[in-house]
Symmetry: C2
Subunit: 169 residues, 2 copies
């Protein structure tokens, strides 16, 4: 485990389309990333799997291939939007930090836990209620899952209720 | 919410007799506390309530007042031991930081959550599996409870399995 003195920590931040993950990212940039450090910030977005869309339909209606394609396109656009917003947040707050991005397909709980190990993250930062209330009902709590299954320290950031912001979608 | 640039953050660290909370404290001192900052570290120890001791007995045997007194004395000694060890860890790693200590009676889940609000902590640091496996069976997971109920960011630190250490008791 590296530390502030040694620098070169790998800080993994799970981002999604909600305000809370952007707040978590800002908080991390202000409170975790050391001044003049060699920290690398890795922004990770998990594109929820098809099963979530199927569950959201709920009618048992079988989507056509065109509908699937449109939904895949939508998911890719959301991923782009989230990453652009996250990178802008990084640029606005810390121009000196090295930023990498990763978009992976799958259940966010599994994707984030696996990537934390695979990328040898020194710390994982997640919003308290990522992936929205509807998706969470199907996916379960991402932050809870990560806190229990990831070996590195996990920082769970809750957005204060008084702090207004704008959604990505 | 203050940040590194402004300094003067109030960092609340829940400590207990296990190795994991001391590891969490060390990690915090190395990774969260900024160099030359005005951060205040507040070490919090929650003395588990009598109900835990009663549950641990399990036989329905009614303890005598002498037994209760001995157990209270034991709990106070453990609290002292934990705090001394925690303060030494702070001194060893960061001599420049302001350290405060608090010992409160009650269910650690409630004590830590309440103190985080009451002390207006900017961040709460807890070990992943505080308060030992036996007590946890009765008390539930402290870190889970805090992550769900505390409004400030919560950092859950898991001690790597390869990193050996010594228990306080």
């Amino acid at each position: 485990m590296t530390d502030v003195a040694e620098g070169e920590r790998r800080i993994l931040v799970a981002v999604d389309e909600g305000e809370e993950s952007m707040y978590a990212l800002s908080w991390c940039l202000k409170n975790i990333v050391a001044q003049n450090s060699k920290d690398t910030l890795i922004l990770l977005y998990a594109k929820p799997p098809r099963a979530v869309f199927t569950a959201l339909d709920g009618t048992g209606y079988l989507f056509s291939s065109e509908t699937w394609a449109a939904m895949e396109k939508y998911a890719a656009d959301v991923a782009d939007c989230v990453m652009e917003k996250a990178k802008k947040t990084c640029r606005d707050l810390r121009q000196d930090i090295k930023v990498e991005t990763k978009v992976e397909n799958g259940d966010p709980r599994d994707v984030i836990s696996q990537m934390a190990e695979q990328l040898r993250a020194d710390v994982l930062i997640v919003g308290s209620h990522g992936y929205g209330s509807i998706k969470r009902a199907f996916l379960g709590s991402v932050s809870n899952h990560c806190a229990q299954n990831v070996n590195c320290p996990v920082l769970i950031v809750k957005k204060p209720k008084t702090n207004a912001g704008s959604k990505c979608q």
